[in-house]
């Protein structure tokens, strides 16, 4: 299929439909509203379900119901809306249902602002709902990658029976880039555990996260933990960029990684080598990328569109080996490549 130029939010919708999306339940919020708008038009036209819910809370619970009934489902929102969805997300994780949640981040806290932000790293990776659970979290840096990740996300959600999140930001949602959609996968079978009616052929299926007996609940938690361990083993993804002979290693994801790449190119022209580790999965965090640094590396610079969230994970896996510096903008302000270059100079010239 040929490339098309598409807005990020609309591309999410198209990619999800190509992945066999049966139903979408959502609620409008800037900067992701083009996604429900696109799907409100395209889903019914393709014989699929689109419902604009009365709230984010209702939308995520519709997702719970439809996922429990065996459908391939997705919802989307942005920062404060994702906050509202946390209740449903922990129920979905606890009940082991597959679904995809797109989070097109804006800036916070509270109502915050509508310009791009990465201040929902904790929300996505450390959970906002109650209990021991995790989401598999992908962080795309461009629209093509986002579409590829969405196709993958549905399969991973099915494999692990766990919600999967695509964490983008307002910039990726709003911008247009060329994208080529992958071919349709083969028809997905309705899972055997789904509530589709017994048809008198089996015992009732029950979708539930309630375990009143502590022994049973602990056993359930251990079972979930095994899945999360398997994710850590198999699902870590990251990109290494210009790492060889790098004096400083930048750590950045999503939109910010693109800005950092501009900064790296600028310094390369001057003969200064700076590298980038770009986490593509935020949970599991790509721990393996931190096993060994290039011998030339003297420091780490974490760049985020927040006041510093991912840096806690970087520090944890750096284990004190290199000094870790931070540069961030927040509130919808976007770091410029020039500012990142200036930070890197400070570190390299020892002025920091």
């Amino acid at each position: 299929m040929a490339k098309v130029l598409m807005k990020g939010n609309e591309a999410i919708g198209e990619a999800a439909m190509r992945a066999g999306l049966d139903a979408f339940f959502g609620y409008p919020i800037t900067p992701q509203s083009e996604l429900p708008e696109y799907l409100s038009r395209e889903m019914p036209a393709r014989g699929k379900v689109f419902v604009q819910a009365e709230s984010e809370v209702a939308a995520i619970n519709m997702i719970y119901g439809a996922a429990g009934a065996g459908a391939r489902v997705m919802t989307s929102s942005s920062s404060p809306g994702i906050a509202l969805k946390q209740e449903g997300i922990t129920y979905i994780a606890g009940s082991e249902l597959p679904c995809v949640i797109c989070s097109v981040g804006r800036s916070g806290p509270g109502l915050g602002g509508i310009q791009p932000g990465q201040a929902d790293y904790y929300q996505a990776t450390k959970g906002g709902g109650n209990g021991d659970y995790h989401l598999l979290v992908y962080a795309p840096a461009n629209i093509q990658e986002m579409c590829d990740m969405i196709m993958e996300a549905f399969d991973k959600a099915d494999y692990y029976r766990n919600p999967v999140m695509i964490l983008a930001d307002g910039m990726i949602g709003q911008m247009m880039e060329p994208v080529e959609f992958k071919e349709l996968k083969k028809e997905r079978e309705v899972p055997a555990w789904a509530t589709t009616g017994t048809e008198g052929k089996r015992a009732p299926n029950i979708i539930n996260s309630l375990y009143l007996n502590p022994e049973d609940l602990e056993e359930h938690n251990i079972h979930l933990t095994k899945k999360y361990d398997e994710m850590k083993e198999k699902e870590e993804q990251w990109e290494e960029y210009n790492l060889e002979n790098a004096e400083v290693i930048c750590i950045a994801y999503g939109t910010t990684s693109r800005i950092v790449k501009n900064a790296i190119e600028t310094l390369k022209d001057e003969g200064i080598n700076v590298g980038l580790i770009r986490p593509k999965t935020l949970w599991p965090f790509p721990e393996k990328a931190f096993k060994e640094y290039p011998k030339t590396a003297k420091a780490i610079l974490v760049v985020e569109m927040s006041t510093g969230q991912m840096i806690t994970d970087v520090r944890a896996f750096n284990e004190g080996r290199l000094p870790v510096y931070f540069y961030g903008r927040s509130g919808g302000m976007i770091p410029t490549p020039e500012a990142v270059v200036a930070e890197l100079r400070k570190i390299i010239e020892g002025g920091k």
Binding site: A23, A69, G197, I206, N208
Partner: protein
Amino acid sequence: MAIVYERSKGLTNAETHYCPGCTHGIAHKLVAESLVELGVLDKAVGVAPVGCSVLAYNYFNCDMQEAAHGRAPAVATGIKRVRPDNIVFSYQGDGDLASIGTAEIVHAAHRSENITVIFINNAIYGMTGGQMAPTTLLGQKTTTSQNGRQLEGQGAPIRIAELLSQVPGAKSVERVSLHNTQNIRKAKQAILKAFKNQIDGKGFSIVECLSTCPTNWGKSPVDAMKWLEENMIPYYPLGVFRTPEEEI
């Protein structure tokens, strides 16, 4: 020997946890019998609430989903939209439906989701230990209205059937009571009709069932039945509030 009565096939053999004199058991039986009589038990998917009937998924002999508190109508919406051929019902108490879940129930009704809602109104929170519900009567003592519910600051009890009867999408709205045989028979007819509506694709149907909570009311089962009749029915009049035939 001919069998004249047996446990409904719509119920599992599990022993329920409900208190003696609680009418949840009656409501369960009526729902189960209706599903069997309409021949849709095998296609039924129920949604259990949070509250006393939280374990309903163990009692109904059909596929079940356990919803978060108040969200059963949203969960049922999700199920019905992707499985329109299944018969989907939610079973909710008054804390669940009339307090934390008002947005979900009103909007499911507004969209006229083709589902059946069984609403148990016993004027109190049962599971959490007898706290004031939005349906608690004025003057009624509960653990969070120890001097009796006051109009000022706590408001008047919410009449869900009347409220939903104002929603165009609520195609069938009826209030029944489970306090005596005569009314239980009427309740059965109302529940049967509410499921029949769904089978016929008529849209959103709700049956509000006035129920007892002897434990948290601090009454014997018999006195509880009497209290319901004398106190709840005057405030919550029984009857049909909407039928699918009527347009508003």
